[in-house]
């Protein structure tokens, strides 16, 4: 049934839904309705360009919305409904890609970027401060220089802070 629907929709253009399948009745339980809309927002309308089934008015989206409502009414959990959808349509239907081998980089990527960026920055700044610490005027005795180095950045920072010339 759904396969047939899907094909019919794929042939017709996304918005072309003359005969409407079903519309939510006005008297649904608001909690279930809210849950249905939240779930629908996570599912992609496969025949549309880039719309969730919550946003689309395509036949397929209407049908899938009804599916979601019916399954909620039947007491299915969100996870069950989502696996029902992925079994039929693959991961493409999910706007939140599942964590697995091919998507691991997608999920840990932001963290890696942050760590790499922060490390580079700390590394550069420390190198820079060391450079600054090493560059006070040479008129100082070697011992004072060593002390400045041992004391760390504190001594170095007051050494020179010209405007980059």
């Amino acid at each position: 049934m759904i396969k047939r629907f899907f094909l019919a929709c794929a042939v017709a253009f996304c918005f072309n839904g003359m005969a409407v399948a079903d519309v939510a009745p006005t008297d649904t339980d608001p909690v279930a309705q809210k849950r249905a809309m939240e779930l629908a927002a996570k599912l992609r309308c496969l025949v549309c360009q880039n719309q969730s089934i919550a946003d689309s008015e395509a036949d397929l989206a209407l049908d899938l919305r009804r599916q979601v409502r019916e399954q909620i009414a039947a007491g299915k959990t969100d996870a069950q409904i989502i696996s029902f959808m992925t079994d039929r349509y693959g991961d493409f239907v999910l706007y939140e890609p599942p964590v697995k081998g091919t998507t691991i980089l997608l999920w840990v990527g932001p963290l890696l970027l942050l760590i790499a960026g922060a490390t580079t920055m700390v590394f550069l700044l420390r190198g820079r401060n060391r450079e600054e610490a090493a560059s006070p005027p040479l008129t100082q005795a070697e011992q004072a220089r060593a002390e400045a180095l041992l004391e760390g950045r504190k001594a170095g920072n007051y050494g020179s802070n010209g405007k980059g010339k």
Binding site: N16, T26, S52, G90, D91, G164
Partner: protein, 658 residues
């Protein structure tokens, strides 16, 4: 005749840009001033011919010259005049055309407002812009000629995509492109500084106003796009994390980092290398955005161009611009000095950390946008990366950003003592935490998840406001005179920052309240039915047919009321454009400061009772999202109008003459 004039003007513009992109650069390298002085004249000439070509294209659209392929495929005699004009940039060819037109406009502006700059610098900046322009113009002339003729001439054109027949279309692309292309000035300044080996505070001061102005345009462009999507697409969202939206968000994020980094470079002489890199990245991302949208690699609501040849051309151009500038950067950057030092706790550090966070946020958006394309290209499966992913990774990055935004605006340059910062910010922090935690309960929320999300959003917004207030009180403490005099003594650049940061707070409040309190109903309604949402009631009174210039519409009539008191009538429409099969939804919105009431029509239902599927929404505080963006833009403009730039400009001119 007119299209041929346009065609020739385009070719002449390309030739002038080639001169602009070569001789002045060589002149600057060899010290030949006769070659350098060419830059201004060629830039102005190129702009003149670009404007002429643009005028010819618009004229062809206005007079319905269907012998021009571009006009025949994107316009129609029944299309209203304003959309015929907007159709000039609605097509692929037209949008590249307006891109180059904007580039001409910016270089012309640089040539006029650069009297205080050394000749060598002007030659290099305009030269770099000329090179970029040459690339884009060749792309236009060789793969996407906007003036291509067809024979036999069709009697009628196809229509403009109905999604684009909207006032938003008139403003959104020009604003967005002004922003995208505006960053080319910052890019050109950065590349010239690398070429000339003169990277110092003056360089930062010169490129700052240009960057801020481009950022203002981009902010405005994104804002208009978001608002347009909100009322035009008919499902009440304001940001969809669509790849095309991401393409405009990425340069915005890095551009924001650039703007702040430039401020540090100008004031403290530090972050120079980093600033140059950001300038290169911002413009590269603008180009990448153009590539993503124009090459058709993305198939989404916005992408209406598909032709692999064009994709390859832009990809090569992208490689040359990004690769070339990064290569130059790699050679020249190590020679740049480091500048003023600063401690771990200082305003510099806060700004640097935020730069990093904004850049990582941009990288994340890039990753999420391109990942499905790569997986698909490598045949590893098709996935969708949508709002749930972006929200999950973006929000955790923005939380520390906003926190540091408050700290950075208050912390001292060079070295800030933690105890001192704590003493100054503890009240702001206390107020923020108490109000943010209390507010969700006062507003009647009890579920832990909902309270936590609301409290987080409120805390971020309040933190910006309270820390900005703290900074403000600190600033006026030691100023003599009455309160009004104290206010008047603050420079405009300070007010600019103040307004822009408050804009972020207003934006966050809007997002938080909409997310937390929006309500929607998707219902079947028969004339006479009522549905209520968010305390408002919508009564459906039926539909009438209405004929528009190039469409037929079913117009619904709804009476909006609250507590049985009628407020106003709303007239949403479902339109069928003659040239297109797809019906379009025109939502009707009752907009107010504290919320919007939104109704859009779904589909008619064949039950013999003239029923329709209808969506109604209550969107509290949604307008605050856009109001926040407007405040940010105003902040940018205020900072631009700061006395410092004008005075410095005059002083520079004076020096040159002396």
């Amino acid at each position: 005749m007119i299209p041929e004039i346009g065609q020739f003007a385009l070719i002449l513009a390309a030739l002038l840009m080639m001169v602009q992109g070569t001789l002045p650069l060589m002149g600057a390298a060899k010290g030949i001033s006769a070659w350098m002085v060419l830059s201004r004249r060629t830039a102005q000439g190129a702009f003149f011919f670009m404007a002429l070509a643009m005028g010819c294209l618009i004229y062809s659209f206005i007079v319905n010259d269907f012998s021009v392929l571009n006009v025949a495929s994107n316009s129609n005699t029944k299309l209203p005049l304003v959309y015929r004009i907007a159709a000039s940039w609605g097509s692929h060819e037209g949008s590249i055309m307006i891109w180059v037109f904007m580039l001409g406009l910016w270089s012309c502006a640089v040539s006029i407002f650069s009297k205080h700059l050394p000749e060598e610098m002007v030659a290099r900046v305009l030269g770099v812009m000329g090179l970029v322009g040459t690339g884009l113009l060749l792309f236009l002339l060789l793969t996407s000629n906007p003036f291509e003729r067809i024979f036999p001439v069709p009697a009628e054109g196809r229509d403009l995509n109905p999604l684009l027949q909207d006032p938003g279309m008139v403003l959104h692309p020009p604003m967005l492109y002004m922003g995208y292309v505006g960053f080319s000035v910052a890019f050109a300044f950065a590349v010239s500084a690398l070429l000339g080996g003169r990277l110092d505070a003056t360089w930062a001061r010169w490129s700052r106003p240009w960057t801020t102005l481009a950022w203002c345009f981009l902010t405005l462009g994104i804002l208009i796009g978001s608002w347009w999507a909100y009322y035009e697409l008919g499902w009440g969202g304001w940001w969809f994390w669509d790849p095309v939206e991401n393409a405009s968000l990425m340069p915005w994020l890095v551009g924001t980092a650039l703007m702040h980094s430039l401020a540090v470079t100008e004031k403290r002489g530090t972050f120079k290398v980093w600033t140059v890199l950001l300038a290169i990245c911002t413009f590269s991302l603008s180009l990448l955005g153009t590539f993503l949208v124009r090459s058709g690699v993305l198939t989404s609501v916005h992408a209406f161009a598909t032709d692999p040849r064009r994709g390859m051309f832009i990809l090569v151009l992208l490689g040359l611009v990004i690769g070339g500038s990064l290569l130059l950067f790699a050679f020249r950057a190590p020679k740049v000095g480091t500048g003023g030092t600063f401690k771990i706790v200082s305003r510099e550090s806060a700004l640097l950390a935020n730069n990093l966070l904004l850049t990582v946020a941009c990288g994340t958006v890039l990753l999420g946008t391109l990942y499905p394309l790569f997986l698909d290209a490598l045949k590893l499966g098709k996935i969708s990366v949508g709002p749930p992913y972006f929200e999950a990774v973006f929000v955790p990055l923005m939380v520390p950003t906003v926190f540091l935004m408050g700290v950075g605006a208050v912390a001292r340059w060079k070295e800030a003592a933690l105890p001192d910062l704590w003493a100054r910010l503890r009240w702001a922090l206390a107020v923020t935490l108490i109000v943010a935690i209390a507010l969700p309960f006062i507003l009647g929320r009890t579920s832990p998840m909902s309270v936590a999300l609301l409290a987080l959003g409120f805390a971020l917004a309040l933190w910006i406001i309270t820390s900005a207030a703290t900074g403000f009180l600190d600033r006026i403490k030691y100023v003599e005179g009455s309160f009004a005099a104290k206010l008047a003594r603050q420079p405009r650049s300070y007010w600019g920052m103040f307004a822009a940061h408050l804009g972020v707070a207003v934006f966050i409040i809007g997002v938080t309240v909409v997310k937390g309190f929006e309500a929607e109903r998707d219902v079947r309604m028969t004339p006479g039915d009522s549905v209520s949402v968010g305390g408002y009631s919508f009564r459906f009174e039926g539909t009438t047919d209405r004929e528009g210039p190039n469409y037929m519409a079913s117009r619904g009539t709804f009476e909006l009321s609250k507590d049985d008191k009628a407020i106003r009538k709303l007239y949403p429409e479902k339109r069928k454009y003659f040239q297109f099969g797809m019906p379009m939804t025109e939502a009707a919105i009752d907009s107010g400061v504290f919320g919007d009431r939104y109704v859009s029509m779904g589909e008619p239902i064949n039950d013999g009772k003239q029923s329709w599927s209808i969506r109604v929404y209550h969107k509290p505080f949604v307008t605050w999202i856009w109001a926040g963006c407007i405040l940010m833009t105003l902040g940018g403009l205020l900072a631009l109008s700061d006395r410092r730039y004008r005075v410095n400009m005059r002083r520079d001119v004076g020096l040159e003459k002396a």
